[in-house]
């Protein structure tokens, strides 16, 4: 009880089962879309059909006249701040006098039935004057004659990185690369329930990634003090970044406060595509210079990221793309310019690995080109340039904990390759459609390496709070852990309980539902919660242990149970911060902007039908260094799932936008990998501890998403000989170019 040596059966390092696992297999787990109150009504959103327009007038009369309608609201009904946003409050709660993207919320309806609410919303007459939509990010950024999308200039952040002055080399490779707009495609659409409270405030139950940042945006818009807006986490059906920005939160609260009734809002799949940000599409120009034996001399790059109509987290996305823009390679001369740009395209923001994913596809493609130009294998070229502990990032930041990239690549390359197809036609590209009997099918192998910053960077005050209470329940010690950290599927509830078991040596641990009655836990993003909330729970447990030790010292001979019996529960609340980070220099990009970095490497093996352009991924293998395994089963699940999303970006996933309009907002047209697209995986996990992190752990959720995409594309290039400079690869890029 008084030392961390106490071993419990489900502590840190054990594959403890999910505490919510049983409820999730019995159907009892309450997702945000399942919430129900007898007197609740339904809210819906009217959205702009135009990517850019002025609003001349809005006629609510026809909607208000419809049966069952309780309220119809526009921006005029927003009592407080009219705008919200994660980094910059530039996004209207409801469009004020113009709309800047297709799908922008314009009006809200509450009615006694969802169908009636939808029909009423459709009856609202909005008189739009359509204006020119800025949809070309390059023009938005660099053409002085281009109209401004918002109040500011169209470049929302330009982050240069400048190192050294040698930009000549014996071997030079150049490339232009493009990454399409990916959707997080969580399966549980945006939803929540807002309940008006007697004190004039509101209780919101919602699926989100960060309760406190939601509250801190909602309350000013409602004109309420923060304490009158209580936000509780409802069951979350996946997140992947898409729940970082607000969707229906303010809307449901506005309707609840107006009607005096609980208001439920649930997006359908089509609305979900309009209701959250996507991964930034990117256009990237790279030039790598190296010695003839493949040692990097310089990297030049221009990285252009389309942020769409509002800011969201674009500045952080730009920071990642710039600071990690050359990858985990040693290079002494760098000239990188990363831009985030406003356009009238859908707003883009957080998705797993943001900023780093886009750059990774480009720099890894370049490393393959360089390997070819130098006559080296892709693995050898990477090993020759690999960072290690003691290297510096292009920002000048010292890598001060293990970064065994060369060893990881060597281990990956040594994995046995999968056998050739055994002649089962269903195994070939095209699958059960049996579009080939093997003719035209070529096999390819490719490698990808990724580096991702863990936790929030660039000087952000990044912390989490945990309240831990040791008490007697039924006469036995029991621990209650309370944080505001969002369980979004990743298994954070499991990890919190594991930390408490290990630190307090108590088997019975309950993780209380997350809400805003405890301090902020920060966001469930940036692979940060095991680190930061894990750290907070650990620190609070240590404080509980100290208090208990003091009691024990003062009352020798009493057991823990006896102490708790006599003195009551011991409860401590602690905040935990990771090492401070610092802004990047605005003109050179230099600075210790990250607190931790994580590496993952992938090998992909593909079969490609070069005649039809169909790709079958035969195997994915990965090596990832996680510092310390907290829960092997959960960790493997993160690596598998992250890899599947990287595979999706390589081969099928793209939100198609034409003239600012979404072309495929449905799961029939936006494809995510099925089990037949996802091959078996081999995973090797390394544990080289980071001394600065709790238990030495390294955040793990995002890195696999980075390295999968370039590995798959490299394998398809190897099979086809095509240049393939854009993802997702479409069949015509293989068969018709």
């Amino acid at each position: 009880m008084t030392s961390t040596d106490t071993r419990t059966s489900q502590g840190i390092g054990q594959s403890a089962p999910r505490p919510d696992g049983t409820l999730k297999v019995t159907g009892e787990f309450a997702y945000s879309s399942d919430l129900w109150l007898e007197d609740m009504v339904w809210g819906v959103t009217l959205r702009s059909p135009h990517p850019a327009a002025r609003i001349r007038s809005i006629d609510l009369g026809p909607a208000l006249a419809m049966p069952g309608v309780l309220a119809v609201l526009t921006h005029e009904d927003v009592p407080g701040e009219k705008h919200h946003g994660l980094e910059l409050r530039d996004q209207p709660v409801l469009a004020v006098d113009r709309v800047r993207y297709q799908g922008e919320p314009v009006a809200l309806v509450a009615a006694d039935h969802p169908e009636r609410a939808r029909r009423a919303a459709a009856a609202i007459v909005v008189d739009y004057e359509v204006t020119e939509a800025v949809t070309d990010a390059r023009r938005a950024a660099f053409d002085p004659a281009c109209p401004k999308v918002g109040e500011r200039g169209n470049i929302l952040r330009h982050q240069p990185v400048r190192v050294g002055s040698v930009f000549e080399a014996p071997v030079v490779v150049t490339g232009e690369y493009e990454v399409g707009m990916q959707d997080q495609a969580f399966l549980g659409p945006e939803s929540g329930l807002a309940v008006p409270a007697e004190d004039g405030g509101v209780d919101l139950y919602v699926a989100t990634q960060w309760l406190h940042v939601d509250r801190d945006q909602i309350a000013p818009c409602l004109g309420l003090p923060a304490e009158k807006v209580r936000v509780s986490l409802a069951g979350v059906g996946g997140a992947f970044g898409a729940r970082e920005d607000l969707s229906m939160q303010v809307h449901a609260c506005l309707l609840a406060l107006r009607t005096g009734r609980p208001v439920k809002m649930v997006y359908n799949r089509e609305e979900s595509f309009f209701g959250h940000v996507h991964r930034h599409p990117a256009w990237m120009r790279y030039e790598h210079g190296a010695t003839r034996d493949g040692r990097l001399i310089y990297v030049k790059a221009e990285i252009l990221l389309d942020g769409g109509a509002y800011c969201s987290s674009s500045p952080a996305v730009v920071g990642n793309a710039a600071s990690l823009g050359a990858g985990p390679y040693e290079v002494g001369n760098v000239e990188i310019d990363a831009y985030g740009v406003y356009t009238n395209n859908p707003p883009c923001g957080a998705m797993r690995g943001f900023g780093a994913v886009q750059a990774c596809f480009a720099y890894e493609s370049q490393m393959d080109r360089l390997a070819e130009a130098c006559g080296l294998s892709p693995v050898e070229l990477r090993i020759r340039n690999a960072v290690s502990q003691g290297s510096r990032l292009i920002t000048g930041q010292l890598i001060d904990s293990p970064a065994p990239l060369a060893g990881m690549l060597a281990e990956l390359e040594a994995f046995p390759l999968p056998a050739a197809s055994d002649g089962d036609l269903r195994e070939l590209p095209g699958g059960v459609a049996q579009t080939t009997h093997g003719e035209g099918v070529r096999r390819g192998v490719g490698y990808g390496v990724g580096i991702k910053n863990i936790c929030f960077s660039e000087g952000f005050d990044d912390y989490s709070t945990a309240r831990v209470r040791l008490e007697l329940a039924g006469g036995e010690p029991h621990v209650l852990v309370h944080t505001a950290a969002a369980e979004v599927g990743q298994g954070l509830v499991t990890v919190q309980a594991q930390v408490a078991r290990t630190e307090l040596g108590v088997e019975r641990v309950t993780v209380a539902p997350a809400d805003t009655t405890v301090g902020s836990a920060g966001s469930s993003s940036a692979s940060r919660q095991s680190y930061v909330t894990g750290g907070a729970v650990k620190t609070a447990c240590e404080a509980v242990r100290e208090r208990l030790a003091e009691l024990a010292a003062a009352h020798p001979g009493l057991t823990t149970t006896a102490l708790l019996q006599r003195f009551g529960p011991v409860e401590e609340t602690r905040e935990y911060r990771h090492r401070p980070t610092f802004p990047m220099d605005p003109s050179t990009g230099q600075g210790d902007s990250h607190t931790q970095l994580a590496l993952c490497v992938h090998r992909a093996v593909v079969d490609v039908d070069v005649e039809l352009g169909l790709v079958k991924v035969v195997e994915l293998a990965a090596v990832q260094d996680v510092g310390k395994v907290l829960n092997l089963l959960a960790l493997e699940g993160q690596i598998h799932g992250g890899s599947a999303q990287g595979l999706g970006l390589a081969l099928m996933e793209e939100v198609l936008v034409a003239d600012g309009r979404l072309r495929n907002p449905s799961f029939t047209d936006y494809l995510i990998p099925t089990i037949l697209d996802m091959p078996p995986m081999k995973v090797s996990i390394l544990e080289n501890p980071d001394p600065a992190a709790p238990y030495g752990l390294r955040g793990a959720g995002e890195p696999p998403t980075l390295s999968t995409t370039p590995a798959v594309v490299a394998a398809v290039r190897a099979a086809t000989g095509r240049a393939l400079s854009r993802v997702p690869i479409r069949p015509e890029h293989i068969a018709l170019t």
Binding site: S15, P17, R18, D20, G21, T22, K24, V25, T26, G27, E28, F29, A30, Y31, S33, D34, W36, Q184, A185, F186, L187, G188, P189, G235, V236, G237, G238, A239, F240, N268, R269, D424, R426, V432, V488, G489, Q490, G491, L633, A634, E636, G637, I639, H640, G641, G642, S643, A644, Q645, S666, F667, T668, I672, T674, I675, L676, M678, P680, M681
Partner: protein, 158 residues
């Protein structure tokens, strides 16, 4: 409005529904069985899969009135009468075959039907059998393991 009678998880239930009420909405809203999830409303994701007279069916592509008099099993009905988890449920919980869990009810119903027809499926038969259900979290590796594990658990049953 139409009066319909369904046997849901062994219990006779009645509902008054308009002709166009989807079975998924009928189960969730009229009968309060929210374990059946709706992920895409057009039959792609499989989250809403239920068993209709034992066969897996997309409840979001089925009008409630068309199944009047039929027998339906939802995720809430997979456990035994004493609340004991079914082998498929146990396997998914044990093998970490879920993360956010939103897709899980659909996978459970699909796998239950698959293993009833084919108690010892091959790797290919498992992949094909559950290829109509989407999962965004797990990369499917542990779902495949869960289905094989469920087959083992069923084989061990007395």
């Amino acid at each position: 409005m139409h009066e319909i009678t369904l046997t849901v998880n062994g219990v006779v239930r009645q509902a008054r529904v308009p002709a166009r009420r989807l079975l998924s909405d009928c189960l969730r809203h009229d009968l309060g069985l929210t374990g059946t999830h709706v992920g895409c409303e057009h039959g792609v994701c499989g989250c809403c899969t239920i068993l209709l007279d034992g066969e897996p069916v997309r409840s979001c592509l089925t009008f409630a009135v068309t199944v009047d008099g039929r027998e339906i099993t939802t995720v809430e009905g997979l456990a035994g009468p004493d609340g004991a988890l079914s082998p498929v449920q146990r396997a998914f919980a044990e093998c970490h075959g879920l993360q956010c869990g939103f897709c899980t009810p659909g996978f459970l119903c699909t796998a239950t039907a698959l293993l009833r027809e084919n108690p010892a499926p091959t790797e290919e038969e498992v992949l094909e059998g559950i290829s109509g259900n989407l999962c965004r979290c797990t990369g499917y590796q542990n779902i495949v393991k869960s289905v094989h594990r469920a087959a083992e658990l069923i084989a061990e049953e007395p």
